[in-house]
Amino acid sequence: MKKSIAAALLLPLLLLAAPPATSQEKPMAFEGAHIIPIAGAEIDDGCLVIHQGRILAVGPRASISIPRDAERRDVRGKVLFPGLICTHSHVGQVSGADRSSPIQPDARALDAINVRHEGFTRARAGGLTTVNIMPGSGHLMSGQTVYLKLRRGNTIDELLLPDESGWIRGGMKMANGTNPQGSPPFPGTRAKAASLVREVYVKAQEYRRKRADAESEDKKPSRDLGLEALGEVLDGKRVVHHHTHRHDDILTVLRLAEEFGFRVVLHHVSEGWKVADEIARSGAPCSIIVLDSPGGKLEAADLRLETGAILEKAGVLVAFHTDDFITDSRLFMRSAGLAARAGMSRQAALAGLTLSGAKMLDLEERIGSLEEGKDADFVILSGDPLSVYTHVLETWVEGEKVFDRSDPEDRLVATGGYGASHDRDEDSSCCTGDVR
């Protein structure tokens, strides 16, 4: 038993850079659905063919030749949509930095995630297939975030998304405004906060320069886990995911990003509508939260449902996020519905659940739209994604079904009810059969 777990730990790391690990040997064809591929126009009577975790073909049913050995599913009357991507989630009881200091780039979310947590099952029920799991906003820099595929896995390793080199994809969580303020060593003012951040980036620049300039390995400064991660930020490999609400705080983020040249996604941006043109000029994308009312904290008092629409019109790339537990992942699609209500285009609102988020995670080559060659991450919906009446019927990750509303256990998670919030083992085979 222990051996097989160890083997399972290693395998994904080796395989995932290559085509996704999957048991889906036979092709599968989903026929007759209304397909919203995000890339390109909506398809009325469409067909999606998947094989070995990837999309083999997608298009009008009449134009797709289905492989002879394919398993065929009639999904007429349903809607096929890319798997949802949440650019900002806290499922899995994640933690990051502790209270010892306001800046802790060494803390990794991946070391602190319980993949059996009910948040994961709720996320799958909501149609999510990829999430950026982040430490909280109580620090200027609370640690490294991690991008996960919501495969049915028993360990964090089975959910990771390493790149070709084995580097585990993730970002760096930062925050400004009132949340990271506190008594020393935490900053007491906004100016102090910015100064502390600049200081650590200057240090990271020096560290990187010394490492690069060293004539030999033994002349290099000794490894510093935090500065190493910030080096990845300075290299543009690790994107900064920055919590920020107020218009002036947003501009501070852009100022620091320009000074140090890091890539940043602005998160929440409650007052983004006040500085939409400035954001657009910077090129920074926005991952926004949609809430039922403004307020609840000072910085969100001017939050508007129109933020998405205003940013879109200014030319900003906009995605949504759950910030789960702020928005329950099962209600993620609703964010796009309400943003469309407040004037966002249908296209941008739907992309905000999928492809726009993929771009913010540097994963647009792999996920975010239904296109040949991309991962077979998709949802089967009972209706239009922008309708309140629509349910997620099935969620598929890399060709494997990870949520099925017709399964009583999955349905319980989707609707709620007694026991719905209990953590669950994804591989429940250990728990079935007679208990002696």
Binding site: G295, G296, L298, R341, A342, A420
Partner: protein
């Protein structure tokens, strides 16, 4: 729950007369491709005529004459002004700073003397926020979180001021049972048993107070056959602002609004109600689906938690489908925006009903849960909740199915006055 409303009606007349001067010009007719009157089948191509703040006619456009000079509004869908059956707006403000948080005082576990009326800020921004989505009446007041947190108030959302906006000045006594009733900072009550023990003791005390009041009123010890009956009547007990409203509860003039979620806590609430023969309105009730038959047997109505309330703590077993289960069991219920301690600072009851409608609850029942059914549970159905002649001219206008995410509330009318026309 209707007895005891006489005093309230008097208050209501004053309110209305104070309002009439500015409403005099507001003679209005609202046409809808569909008008959901809640007083019968929806009317296609219908019209509602409002004169002097009251509805004077409802019917098909082809049959109802719109008087000359009346302002005419049109919408795809027209409903009665929406009712939020339980909220804390006006007390729990948008900024969430101590200066705008008046929903809960923690000095002691039971403070029935606290009146929502004295804390409601009619101009609070969140009142305007929910109004812009069609909410014209809200039942608000002290929040759950103390065993007895005070008296609730029912207001119109006009923002004119509580004296004018109040529909019922003292509607219910807000009471919490279960984990959330535990005292702050380790103060009593610290356990469920203690919560119930304190509540029972307080109701006994109120009973004793009432007996003393009666004795004083009867002018005797109560028993006419008693030899000393003619002796001088006892002094009435000194006024007790906390016990006075509890006496009204014992007299069934006012219900106890019990916020309770866990199944076993629901049963505790019912046990206390039976012992003291009082009326309850069950509030929250996340685990109602586990004890439907007991709730049904009690006859008490339910103000259901927002279906989108977070599934945390005592709400961990809540379900999107509870409203549908209540409807199947024929338990009267209404929706509420509830109480949020962080973001969003308030929910919008329209969205909460919508989610229930998307999870097994019939459209009509969902709509009634934020209109007529809510009005009945709050005891104000003589004034609001449906579009019928004689009722207040409170309407909400929509450009489509009110429950759809992409539909807009395009107009809100309170007592004949257009209070919002910004599509939202």
């Amino acid at each position: 729950m209707t007895p005891g409303f006489t005093t309230l009606k008097i208050g209501l007349f004053f309110g209305l007369s104070a309002f009439l001067p500015c409403a005099a010009s507001a003679q209005i007719a609202v046409k809808g491709r569909v008008v959901h009157t809640l007083a019968g089948e929806p009317i296609e191509n219908g019209v509602v005529v409002v004169r002097e703040g009251k509805i004077t006619a409802v019917g098909k456009s082809s049959e109802v004459l719109i008087p000359e000079g009346f302002r005419v509004l049109e919408a795809a869908v027209v409903t009665p002004g929406l009712i939020d059956a339980h909220s804390v707006v006006g007390l729990s403000g948008i900024y969430n700073q101590s200066h705008d948080q008046d929903q809960l005082d923690h000095t002691s576990a039971m403070q029935p003397e606290l009146r929502g009326l004295d804390a409601y800020n009619a101009r609070e921004e969140l009142v305007a926020w929910i109004r812009s989505f069609g909410v014209t009446t809200v039942h608000t007041g002290p929040a759950p979180g103390a065993l007895i947190s005070g008296q609730t108030v029912i207001v119109k959302t006009s923002g004119r001021g509580v004296d004018v906006d109040a529909v019922v000045e003292s509607a219910m006594i807000a009471c919490t049972i279960g984990d959330q009733a535990r005292g702050a900072d380790g103060k009593t009550p610290g356990t469920r048993s203690k919560v119930i023990a304190l509540l029972r003791a307080e109701l006994l005390k109120a009973g004793e107070y009432r007996r003393k009041q009666e004795k004083a009123r009867d002018g005797s010890g109560g028993d006419p056959d008693e030899e000393n009956a003619e002796k001088k009547a006892p002094e009435p007990p000194p006024r007790d602002l906390g016990l006075e409203p509890l006496v009204r509860v014992l007299d069934k003039e006012m219900p106890l609004l019990v916020t309770v979620h866990r199944a076993h806590d629901i049963l505790s609430a019912l046990r206390v109600a039976e012992e003291f023969d009082i009326n309850l309105v069950l509030d929250g009730v996340a685990e109602a689906h586990l004890v439907l038959d007991r709730i049904k047997a009690s006859g008490f109505p339910v103000i259901l938690h927002p279906p989108m309330a977070r599934t945390r703590g005592v709400l961990e077993n809540s379900s999107f489908e509870t409203a549908a289960r209540l409807a199947e069991s024929d338990i009267p219920f209404a929706f509420q925006s509830g109480f949020e301690g962080y973001v969003p600072k308030t929910r919008v009851v329209l969205f909460e009903a919508a989610l229930a409608a998307a999870n097994g609850l019939a459209f009509d029942r969902a709509l009634s849960g934020i209109t007529l059914s809510a009005a009945r549970i709050l005891g104000i159905e003589d004034r609001v909740g449906s579009l019928e002649p004689g009722k207040d001219g409170d309407l909400a206008l929509f450009d489509g199915d009110p429950f759809e995410y992409t539909t807009h509330c395009t107009g809100v009318v309170i007592e004949g006055v257009v209070v919002s026309q910004t599509p939202r």
